[in-house]
Symmetry: C2
Subunit: 241 residues, 2 copies
Amino acid sequence: MGKFNTEDYIAQLSIDCVIFGYKNKELKVLISKLSYGDNLWSLPGGYILQTEGIDQAASRILKERTGLDNIYLEQFRAFGGPDRIIGSEFRDLVRTGLRNFDSNRFDDEAIDWITSRFVCIGYYALVDLNKVELRIGEFEEFLKWVSIAELPNMTHDHNKIVAAAHKALRQNLDEKLIGFNLLPEEFTMREVKELYEAVYDKEFPMNNFQKKILGLNVLERLGKKFTGAQNRAPYLYRFKK
Amino acid sequence: MGKFNTEDYIAQLSIDCVIFGYKNKELKVLISKLSYGDNLWSLPGGYILQTEGIDQAASRILKERTGLDNIYLEQFRAFGGPDRIIGSEFRDLVRTGLRNFDSNRFDDEAIDWITSRFVCIGYYALVDLNKVELRIGEFEEFLKWVSIAELPNMTHDHNKIVAAAHKALRQNLDEKLIGFNLLPEEFTMREVKELYEAVYDKEFPMNNFQKKILGLNVLERLGKKFTGAQNRAPYLYRFKK
DNA sequence: ACAAAAGTGTTTTTGCTACACCCATGT
DNA sequence: ACATGGGTGTAGCAAAAACACTTTTGT
């Protein structure tokens, strides 16, 4: 890997992705352990190429980490508060960390560039955790799925960013459901319900939930799903075309 | 005015403000006619100082144009689509315009900086049109209030930005009402209703509207307002402290 | 007395919640 | 037959919309 060319990217502007993963009825967030410094955690992020749009950059960053394509990403907010300008407790850690990292790729100019003041644009996605093949990014030691309640202290304002993303995800989940290709091609109402319960961290009674979802008028009912269990077979649904 | 120092600002990142003004039951938007080029219109905007947060930058830009302080500004979205990168039909117009503008302040390097690819962060505000003292910005010939339906073609994606701002404004206007210090100190329910009608471009029946607003529990009722009209005097209200 | 507009009360509708009940399936 | 969970229908409640009416004010 050659020199990191700062001119390829927009300076002082980054994208941070809050990647929500769903598995076993649980909602998790993908975070990365930075490979320099002890106990430094952050959201997977990246820079914007001069040649790409910001949505495109977010998709690329998501794909780099998860291998996933065609995932619905939503921009929810830009962060550029005064707390990001100076006096960041992490800046010096990052500086010294990068100095011992890869001096061919990151010279002093690159390190200055990376540790300067940044504004970041937040995107979130919701993906099927089983479909993900994690690949670490440049500065990362490893990536890890953590449930929202157990997030460690992260660099900069990344904890705030996750909170804002979670709030945005909960707003109008109905309309986003189709976008996230999270559920299998055919699924039962229970599976939809469990997804909602994971996102809202709250139980929904089946009958009313069914009415609400069917009322959205986006599902079509297929056959039944025989699981072998000694109970009535649930219907299968899929999204209308 | 001295040289324009590009180093004072974050490069390739700007803020554009959609300033909604209210007067005579009508909702207008503040747009500026650029002083170079014919028929070039755009939203009032500016750059972010290295020393300020992005919200702070937006406030400063709003104050520069309107003289207004302590106005509630809301960030609604960042724009950085591929249409903003190259092939912008406006770029060359701006370039040639700036070359004949003020060569002391804007040298070739500054012109390159200004006409490079930009990502912008959109903010909107809602202000009392009567309280505004318009002051033109650097590149502006004049500023003008235009109703949303009559917006001219604007540079870049500024028409899209206004549409997105209008949509954001309509969401949860209730909660933002107090923030915009838009209404006079004491006002009638009718005035509130007319404001809503301007924002939503739709009529509201008085009785139900009154119930809804009083239900928000943010207003206190004062005396009556005698206008001399031959009808019952309406109550005056103000926001609770 | 009357016109104009403010204000209040009542009914209707709607959407959501809670409860009760019936149905299919495999042992 | 029965335990298990799936599915449906009805009653209850509260918020919103629609409708009808009374009150105040100046001419």
